[in-house]
Amino acid sequence: MLEKRIFKPDRMTWKERWHGILSSEKIDRIPMHHFVLGFCAKNVGYPIVTMYKDPEKSFQAQLQTLEQYGFDGGPNYGYASFGGWEFGGEIKFPVGDFEQAPSHTKFPVQTKEDAERLLLPNIFKAGSVPNAMAFSKLQEKYGTPISLVIGGNFTIAGNICPVETLCRWTLREPELAHKLLRLATDFSLLLVRYWVDTFGAERVIPNIWEPLSSNDVISPTQFKKFALPYLNETGEKMLAMGIKHIFYHICGEQNLNLPYWAQLRMGNPGLVSVGNQVDLSTAINYFGDNNIIIGNIEPSLIQIGTPQQVYEECKKSIEKAKYSPRGFMLMSGCELPPMTPSYNVYIMRKAIDDFGWYE
């Protein structure tokens, strides 16, 4: 791996490559998509909490890190526990040595009565929304894609109340589960409307992160009943607002849910990111005709694997997905771990240089 020290020169800027793949035009090479938050903080010398509390520093840290490693796409703001704070609960920002992202300290809904009383929050002031809006204004200023990270409907509901409670309600009190899912859906749509009104539908790419509906938690039958209808409604209404592309991060073990995910319209093209649990060939079969496939190097491998192991995994992924009908972007299967050795990130880019060119 050490013979060659200079990458082949790109024939496109990252913005040209990004717009090219979204427009289904020929691009020079596979893009290296980013899912990097805490890693950027470490990279530029900030504590991880900066990424979530300080939009300006978060944006700059990402911009610098994306430039340094040659990532494609722009900075992003979001976290997987989205929904709890926004509906009136409390979260803890990551400050400890082993903390990665904000986590719940108090759920807004603990009991049936809490659920029955729960109302939509003021979307302009809810939890992280002001920070997310400040961040998106920086995206607009710098001409990077304007993303809005929201949870999948089931994930938001599972952040409003403890996921164990939501799980029990899916079987014992389904009307309460549906009540939370309804609120999660209405909240998501109001947020997307807020972003569309502020930046224009064509520029906004909603990011739907949906770990809690994985088969690590619920069955495909429960997915069909409690996740799919709300995901479908949210997606269709976003597309009706004029959104062109939706980014779905289908996180975790989702193999049994894939036939249902494949029923969703995700834009033209949509963007589908899968974890290492879903084989890329499987993802292409389900989503490749209409969507860009993104993924799926195992994050813990990138963090603790040898450069050679990371290189081999990237090579395999590129070979599997390079010619996916609507394109492929190499990415970690979930957030790049903040403590990842920087050489392993370089190696991902190197694998693209060695195997990812379109001639």
Binding site: G38, K92, P94, G96, D97, F98, E99, Q100, A101, S103, H104, T105, V163, E164, C167, R168, T170, L171, R172, N215, D216, V217, I218, S219, Q222, G252, L256, P299, S300, Q303, I304, C334, E335, P337, P338, M339
Partner: protein, 224 residues
């Protein structure tokens, strides 16, 4: 006093009711077992606990998921609340114990809670340290509890980095204890690399893995 056939009927009823998550029937059958003189210990071990073995299998086979395990465990605990006060202490097999926690920096407790359920169903004493457990606590608590097994988990790729340190601290207090780890970013190879004695991929197989691990550790000690 219930005859053997009647006892078997009640035990089967308890098993079926737990597996089908029918808490009310578990309560009724637990009361009935006591009324009809079924040994409370048998009702727990041959009824409730056996049912959770089946629930664990269904979970491992992806026929049951988290909601089903939780409701089956609700039924289990409802039965235990009725039957346990009537169990006469038995000599013989010693009750095993587990010290359990999620490492510092990680508040994800659903996997840990499922593991707790499966061990309690199998008759183990579980000392649950909760989530976001400061690493020295694992060692200090083990020094106090002297549990047979210490279970440590992490869900995040960042918090998983705390596991080898937690193992080191436990072993410093109790070098012979068997340590079992689990959580989404881990695998068996990594568990071994971190110094753990065992790894469980999911809650459905965790008790079996712990028992196999204890055997391995016992044999290892014999060889030394």
């Amino acid at each position: 006093m219930a005859n053997e056939q009647r006892t078997l009927e009640i035990l089967k009823g308890l098993r079926d009711a737990v597996v089908s998550m029918d808490e009310n029937t578990v309560k009724e059958l637990s009361e009935l077992a006591l009324e009809e003189g079924v040994d409370a210990y048998d009702a727990v071990t041959e009824g409730l606990a056996k049912a959770m073995d089946r629930v664990g299998e269904l979970y491992s086979n992806k026929e049951y998921f988290v909601p089903e395990i939780l409701l089956a465990s609700d039924a289990l605990y409802a039965g235990l609340a009725i039957l346990q006060p009537h169990i006469r202490i038995r000599t013989g097999a010693e009750k095993k114990s587990l010290l359990l926690g999620v490492v510092e920096g990680d508040v994800h407790d659903i996997g840990k809670n499922l593991v707790k359920i499966m061990f309690e169903a199998a008759g183990w004493d579980v000392h649950d340290l909760g989530v976001d457990v400061k690493l020295p606590i694992f060692g200090e608590e083990q020094a106090r509890q002297k549990a047979d097994v210490v279970g440590i988990s992490a869900l995040m790729t960042t918090s998983m980095l705390a596991i080898p340190r937690a193992i080191e601290l436990v072993k410093a207090h109790d070098p012979d204890v068997a340590i079992l780890v689990g959580g989404a970013p881990l695998n068996r190879e990594l568990a071994t690399r971190y110094g753990a004695d065992g790894y469980a991929k999911c809650a459905g197989e965790v008790v079996k893995e712990a028992q196999a691990m204890l055997e391995r550790v016992k044999n290892r000690k014999k060889m030394l």
